[in-house]
Amino acid sequence: MLQILSLTKRFGAMTAVDNLSFSVNSGEIVGLLGPNGAGKTTTIRCVASLLQPSSGTILLNGHNVADDPVAAKRTLAFVPEVPNPYEMLTVMEHLRFIAAAYRMEEDLVHAEEILTRLDLWDKRNDLGASLSKGMRQKLACACAFIHQAQVFCFDEPLIGLDPKGMRELKSMMMERRAQGNAILISTHMLDTAERLCDRVIILKKGQLIVQGTVSELKSQLMSSAESSLEDMFLELTEGTPAA
């Protein structure tokens, strides 16, 4: 579904992502972990072709992002780190715009369901300017779920959501996984990643240092069975063995 082949992204002399390769298969949620500045956002932005990779290939559902960005992006839903809604569009108009941009056939049949689950249905006629930070985040997620994407990229989607919002968002992701979509989320919430993600990828300074299921990582590191993902994360990224 999503394939990243030796992706490298440099900003001037600084290498933000260094020869990174991984893939997210259909029916899979993959967590992208790493300390601040590891290159998670940069990777996801390259997937959405917001950044031009210095080298490497990204395939979205078989379409090369660099050669055929429109076809590739049609299968992609992307939620940015800090979403900025249009001040002068209502919540519903955001969804309508997305529907038109992705040329959806059936017009917004799921809008009410998605907005209700995210507690935005009552706000559907409010302007973007009046939304709170968490609502902006939810609106961006609603826009991602409204069209028929096959690959989802979320950049720290859970930050700023209330507990109910978090739970709904996670269950919506799991429903999408059940439908065979591929989901990539970057997050710092390790306990969530441990429970939600089928696989995790840990980045450090732009390089992939380890990937696999949480239990695979545990056996690789020969950590004790009780050690959490958090312990392993710190051990891998900081070099401090778990206590």
Binding site: R74, I98, Y102
Partner: protein
């Protein structure tokens, strides 16, 4: 195309609705747009055949007219291209970055979406040139030799000016999507402007104005700047009552051709565009951490360029400490903030003295100096705008400080005022040491009058910015600029009226004296208003309602 058009429609509709419920937001923009379009239309078609007494009117040489227009159009074109090297043209709103850039809409269509903005820019600037040009030729009673009356330019010159400006806008847009390291070129461009100004002054000084005219009309200038020279041909032909259809056709074809490269290229300019937005947002993020955070972010970006960073040693208390912090921050770029303005002033002062001496008329030199200073004023106002905007972002830091509002305003505007003061001081000193005619008047005007006036204008702008602080929205910035224009216009007219007695009495001293005396209460008033607005904005974090602020004073 359709989704974006749909969305624009909704945005405009909602914006209009908001205007009716909250005129603060878009009212001034609509007013200003109608004002500008009305002025352009009036200039284009109105005032037909204002009779000019041939005995009284000065005949104007078409060659000189052509040279001046070409020169103005080249200057405009270079300024537009320079804008393309900055972030202005490419910086899409962050919402577009989040919702349009990742969507399956091709980059060409997104770019096409930028064309209305480019066209509006072209209409605005082309229209400005038309208005200035017509009023100068009309009010100076200048005539083309063969005609004894002035006619409105009509639609052909108007379209020509707009098409010429639009061509430069398209080129500038192309430059901004193609060139990743634009900021370096930006600096060279400033060099080009300085060199251009210096060489013109030099040629004028050594060879006289006629050489300048022949250079401007030579193919060396006319061919590289074809859009400028074609437009000036049409304008001159218009004054001669010859419709230049064929030249206009060339110009329009040129405009069309300038669109082609924009849509042929396949570069992924999203990255450049996001970089512009990102630059703004790092500073904004850091601003949340207070002044220290901003300085850290700024010094981090300077480290790249190998500029030394200085630690701020605290000095003074209250507003003085705030002012000192700003000065220390500005001192990290001493050349741009302090040395360049001072040197620029000195160079201009000497140049003005030299040109006055050469032409045996102090007025030419002083006029040149005044004109350039007026142009630079715009830059300093822009710096003051940035200073005022960042003070809003530092609200959390400022709110616990026990500083009176007006003192905080003065401290925040300190750096641009000091920079402008240095410029004025340099110019006055240089002009005075040459002992040129009127040196004492110029010194008083530059050292006393201008800095006070500048401080008062900057505080006025500060009030307006506090009323319209919504930085995220580009449109809001335009609105804020418009409101400032609406507020400042009567002041400029008022200053003109105040000058009438001194014109009648033919006393320059009286003029300087009147204007200076008036500036002092103006400064007190604007500072007071800005202080009140600032206290309110810092306390609430809400946009200040300007009308309520004013009516409570009344």
């Amino acid at each position: 195309m359709k989704p974006i058009l749909l969305m624009s429609g909704w945005k405009i509709r909602n914006a209009l609705r908001t205007t009716f419920s909250d005129p603060r937001k878009y009212g001034p923009l609509i007013f200003f747009t109608l004002f500008i379009l009305g002025s352009i239309a009036l200039t284009t078609f109105g005032f037909n055949s204002v009779p000019v007494d041939p005995a009284n009117g000065r005949a104007i040489n078409p060659e000189i007219l052509r040279a001046i227009t070409t020169f103005c159009m080249i200057l405009l074109g270079l300024s537009v291209i320079d804008a393309g090297l900055g972030d202005q043209l490419l910086a899409f709103p962050m919402s577009d970055v989040d919702y349009i850039f990742p969507s399956p809409i091709s980059r060409r269509i997104v770019l096409a979406n930028r064309l209305p903005a480019l066209t509006i820019g072209a209409i605005f600037f082309g229209g400005m040139v038309l208005i200035v040009f017509s009023s100068v030729t009309r009010f100076s009673h200048s005539t083309i030799p063969t005609h004894s009356h002035y006619s409105a330019p009509g639609w052909i010159p108007t379209v020509a000016l707009i098409a010429s400006t639009g061509t430069y806008f398209n080129l500038a847009m192309f430059v901004s999507i193609m060139v990743p390291n634009r900021s370096i070129l930006h600096r060279y461009m400033i060099g080009v402007f300085v060199a251009l100004g210096a060489s013109i002054a030099l040629i004028w000084w050594i060879r006289g104005a006629s050489t300048l005219v022949s250079i401007a009309n030579s193919n060396w200038v006319r061919i590289p700047f074809k859009p400028s020279s074609l437009a000036s041909d049409i304008l001159v032909a218009g004054f001669n009552h010859q419709p230049a259809y064929r030249t206009l056709l060339y110009l329009l074809i040129g405009y069309g051709v300038s669109l082609i490269p924009l849509f042929v290229t396949n570069t992924n300019w999203y990255e450049q565009s996001i970089a512009s937005a990102e630059r703004v947002s790092t500073i904004r993020q850091a601003a949340k951490g207070g002044l220290a955070g901003v300085m850290a972010a700024k010094s981090a970006s300077f480290k790249h360029k190998g500029v030394k960073t200085y630690t701020v040693s605290p000095f003074g208390t209250g507003a003085m400490a705030l002012f000192w912090a700003h000065l220390s921050a500005a001192w990290k770029k001493p050349f741009a903030n302090f040395i360049a303005p001072a040197i620029g002033g000195i160079v201009l002062g000497f140049l003005a003295a030299a040109i006055s001496a050469k032409n045996n008329s102090a007025l030419i030199g002083i006029g040149l100096l005044a004109g350039i200073t007026a142009y630079l004023t715009l830059f300093f106002m822009q710096i003051a705008r940035t200073a005022a905007e960042s003070s809003i972002r530092r609200r959390e830091l400022l709110s616990p400080l026990p500083i009176l509002g007006w003192q905080a305003v003065l401290a925040n505007l300190g750096v641009p005022i000091v920079a402008f003061g240095l410029f004025c001081l340099g110019a006055a000193l240089a002009y005075s040491v040459t002992g040129s005619q009127y040196w004492s008047m110029l010194a008083v005007a530059f050292v006393v009058f201008m800095p006070i006036r500048m401080a008062s204008r900057m505080s006025l702008q500060y009030v307006v910015i506090l009323g319209y602080p919504d930085l995220a929205d580009k449109l809001q910035q335009v609105v804020s600029n418009c409101v400032y224009g609406v507020v400042a216009l009567p002041l400029i007219v008022g200053e003109g009226i105040l000058l009438i007695p001194s014109l009648i009495l033919r006393s320059i001293w009286l003029g300087i004296f009147t204007l200076t005396i008036v500036q002092i209460p103006m400064l007190v008033l604007t500072l007071y208003l800005a202080g009140k607005a600032s206290e309110k904005a810092i306390a609430t974090g809400e946009p200040v309602n300007l009308w309520r602020l004013l009516s409570r004073q009344a």
